[in-house]
Amino acid sequence: MSSSEGGRPAPAPYSNPYLAGFGLGLVLLAAFVLMGRGLGAVGAFNTVVAWLASLAAPQWVADHEFLGRYLGDGEHHPLRSWIVLEVVGLALGALLSGWLAHRVAGTVERGPRASVGARLGLAFAGGALMGIGADLARGCTSGQALTGGAMLNLGSWAFMMCVFAGAYAAAPLVRRQWR
């Protein structure tokens, strides 16, 4: 899906960060008022893992202290869950915004000196670290930092500061990937 020739509109500039943040805050506020919960992401990944594992070893998942809770009530399919549908919506909303702004493009985001292979390897490694970290912390940047931050949750604020600390500490090590 690389850019087709002729007449393809240039990608629109990104929104003002305060405007985008205000919009994001209103969506989060709506989730609190309507649902009594915030936004999230990593729970959907745990649900997919629980579902896939349950196809191979249903009893192991059902008895699993951590994974078992992602199987749902047992009457419905595990993927028929609030967090999975929210993340499906996330993908649709991002696609809609990107499409309207001509920013949908099959590409690999990387700095000028990074090879595609190294970039994809680091993307996988970073994702794996985040999966472990988010599970340990009981949520990710969405479910903990954003949601818990707005709820003035003590553990969420500790988590958020450590996310920034960890990222700034590791940034010089992967500078060649981005700069």
Partner: protein
């Protein structure tokens, strides 16, 4: 109004699932508008020449914090019915550090990785596969990780509870910190912009 509406029985599970989809669409739309489907935009936060991550995140936090607090003070929203993840401070400190390292190595956090994959970024899609692998690894290693997962247990704990101060004071402090942070962010960007190699 008697909010949170789902918790007070205003509608059932079917409607809640429809709302999950709609709120998710709003979430993804806002993330992509901000530029958070791009790993280069996101990681610029950590090289100090574009602090949009901080600006967007804290504008969103302040907006929702003031909104929920105002609705609670107006007697419309019962904050005790809003889910609060319990604090396990040691697990959350370790988890936060790991996620932070993973963020700058992988280029996305889990939610922005979904936005990136949805807008065609192959590295975003690979990040999602990595997250799945990490979550599966955590589940397999759970017997060994359980003591860390449960370390630092403090129960449901808010900043006003923990510091023993009124909620309004914490709201004002977070707002003041955010505004000072925005001013500092602009000063930092002016200093570091143009230094891209």
């Amino acid at each position: 109004m008697n909010a949170p509406l789902y918790e007070t029985g205003a509608f059932g599970e079917g409607v809640s699932l429809l709302l999950a989809l709609l709120l998710g669409i709003g979430f993804g739309f806002a993330l992509e508008r901000a530029g958070f489907g791009s790993a280069r935009k996101l990681t610029s936060q950590f090289y100090l020449d574009d602090l949009a991550v901080f600006k967007v995140m804290f504008t969103a936090i302040v907006t929702a914090m003031i909104g929920t607090s105002a609705l609670a003070w107006a007697g419309v929203l019962d904050l005790s019915l809003v889910a609060l993840v319990p604090t396990y401070w040691i697990a959350q400190v370790v988890g936060g550090l790991l996620l932070g390292v993973g963020f700058v190595v992988g280029g996305y956090c889990p939610g922005t990785g979904v936005a990136a994959a949805a807008t065609g970024r192959l590295d975003g899609l690979v990040t999602l596969l990595g997250i799945l692998a990490g979550c599966a690894g955590f589940a397999f290693a759970y017997p060994a990780l359980q003591s860390l997962y449960l370390a630092g247990e403090m129960g449901e704990q808010t900043l006003p509870d923990f510091f023993g101060v009124p909620r309004a004071l914490v709201v004002a402090a977070v707002l003041a910190m955010a505004l000072a942070g925005f001013a500092a962010a602009h000063a930092i960007e002016r200093r570091f912009a143009g230094r891209r190699v």
